[in-house]
Amino acid sequence: MTIANDLLQRIIEGVLLAAGKPLTVEELGGLFEDHERPSNDAVRAALAAIGEQGTGRGFQLREVASGFRFQVVQEVAPWIAKLWEEKPQKYSRALLETLALIAYRQPITRGDIEDIRGVAVASNIIKTLLEREWVRVVGHKDVPGRPAMYATTRKFLDYFNLQNLDDLPTLAEIRDLDTMNTELALEGIDTEMVALETEAETPNADEENAVAQATPEAAEAVADDDAAPSIANEV
């Protein structure tokens, strides 16, 4: 007497799920004792029935070269991928500084960045920023070696949710370290020194804030005023 059909289906379904590899019709049949062994046709019929039950579910029975196996449906792939998503690493301080300088001083060459940071900029930092499409080469400076000049991209603005570079905090705001004390403390920066600096710079900072919050008309005027000094500026 062979095994009842519904039990046969449960066994095949369970075995295929437990096996961790595809199994052929013969291998499935071989799991049964001789007296209860179902015919290959019975195994095939059970497999067909299981296949039908799987319709519209999160997994399906598939026949591959080496037999039958359950597979999760492609539709679910994005969520499974999230299951094993690696934790994003953090960028180095050197990369963040380089990115900040490109944002605020663009167009800027690597040499300029090195001058300001006081240390060489590793090639992989520039490469990473280019690959991420946060910066791009906008030209080459007409000096010996013709160094590339870097600028930020639209993608950079989008990532940081900015309309344009003017939306970046002004340097004065950056200097208004009250809001950033926490972060700085976390970064292990001497808070005492920062406090002193804040005090000394406060009047200036207010002036800058006023500029940043100016009406469009005022901004225009300021832009005019700015023209000469900014052209004179050399880093």
Partner: protein, 292 residues
């Protein structure tokens, strides 16, 4: 005893080897005399020394010993064998039996675990105390050793049972089989590091402080839109061809946009990044990148 794999099936020990050992013990008991204790009666003659061809090989006795998880387990076995309740144990009789096992083991020169000898000593003490009359003082001071033994046996028995219960629980890869399926194409990509704007600002504050750039009023007052436009203009220019100056301006940007572009071009000229050319008076102005 191996923690991973039990080398001896306790059933074999209890069903076959222990009765064999007990047979040996009974033979010994039946001829027990004061003084010398013969191990066995062979052809009517009491053997006081172990014969070389002992019918229970030492390995079997070792198996027998290994079937027990210590003296409490052996005592429990002895009690169960007599079909009596732990609460009803006759300490004298149990001690007698226990000693016989221990003596048999030591005669076989097994290295008996210290716990077995300790239990032997404890049993002997209980037995002697049961026989001796005690003063009321003593009774109040000390806990009855028999009650203590019974409690230990009961406590051990609880956990012996609990261990069997745990062993009987359905467990993974015996009764419980976890499922494993093929995965769809996951198209996995390495996630990009996340950056918070604040982090960027902190980095900038840091580098500017180091470079003393906070002192530079130029940096402070500079409009970033100008620098942004500089990048944009530069990106549109080529060193190989002239671009009409007017094409850099878009009317839709309004006056502010025109001003920003103009400032950007001035700055680019100042930084010698672009060339500006006017072939004739009032002719069209062209710009080109100096080097690209």
């Amino acid at each position: 005893m191996n923690s991973e794999q039990q080398p001896i099936d306790p059933e074999v020990a209890t069903e076959i080897l222990i009765p064999a050992a007990l047979h040996l013990r009974e033979m010994r008991q039946s001829s027990a005399q004061q003084g010398e204790m013969p191990f066995a009666i062979v052809q009517g003659k009491a053997m006081t020394e172990l014969p070389k061809d002992l019918y229970i090989p030492p390995e079997a006795l070792e198996v027998f010993l290994e079937a027990f998880e210590g003296p409490l387990d052996l005592l429990l076995y002895l009690i169960k064998r007599q079909n009596i309740d732990i609460l009803e144990i006759n300490v004298a009789a149990i001690t007698e039996q226990y000693m016989q096992y221990v003596n048999m083991m030591s005669a076989m020169q097994f290295e008996l675990a210290a716990e077995y000898l300790l239990m032997a000593a404890m049993l002997a003490e209980i037995k002697s105390r049961m026989l001796l009359p005690r003063s009321a003082d003593e009774e109040e001071e000390e806990e009855d050793p028999r009650a203590q033994l019974i409690r230990r046996l009961q406590e051990y028995e609880r956990f012996k049972k609990a261990a069997a219960d745990v062993d009987a629980l359905p467990r993974v890869s015996r009764e419980i089989h976890l499922v494993s399926v093929d995965l769809p194409d996951l198209n996995k990509t390495k996630p990009e590091p996340l950056v918070d704007l604040k982090e960027l600002m902190v980095a900038l504050a840091d580098v500017l402080r180091r470079a003393d750039l906070f002192e530079s009023h130029h940096v402070q007052k500079e409009k970033l839109s100008t620098r942004e436009r500089m990048s944009e203009v530069l990106a549109r220019l080529s060193p190989n061809r002239f671009t009409p100056f007017v094409s850099l301006f878009t009317a839709e940007e309004g006056r502010l946009g025109v001003v920003v572009t103009f400032l950007a071009v001035m700055e680019l000229i100042k930084e010698q990044l672009i060339e500006i050319i006017q072939a004739e008076d009032f002719g069209p102005i062209h710009v080109k990148a100096k080097v690209a």
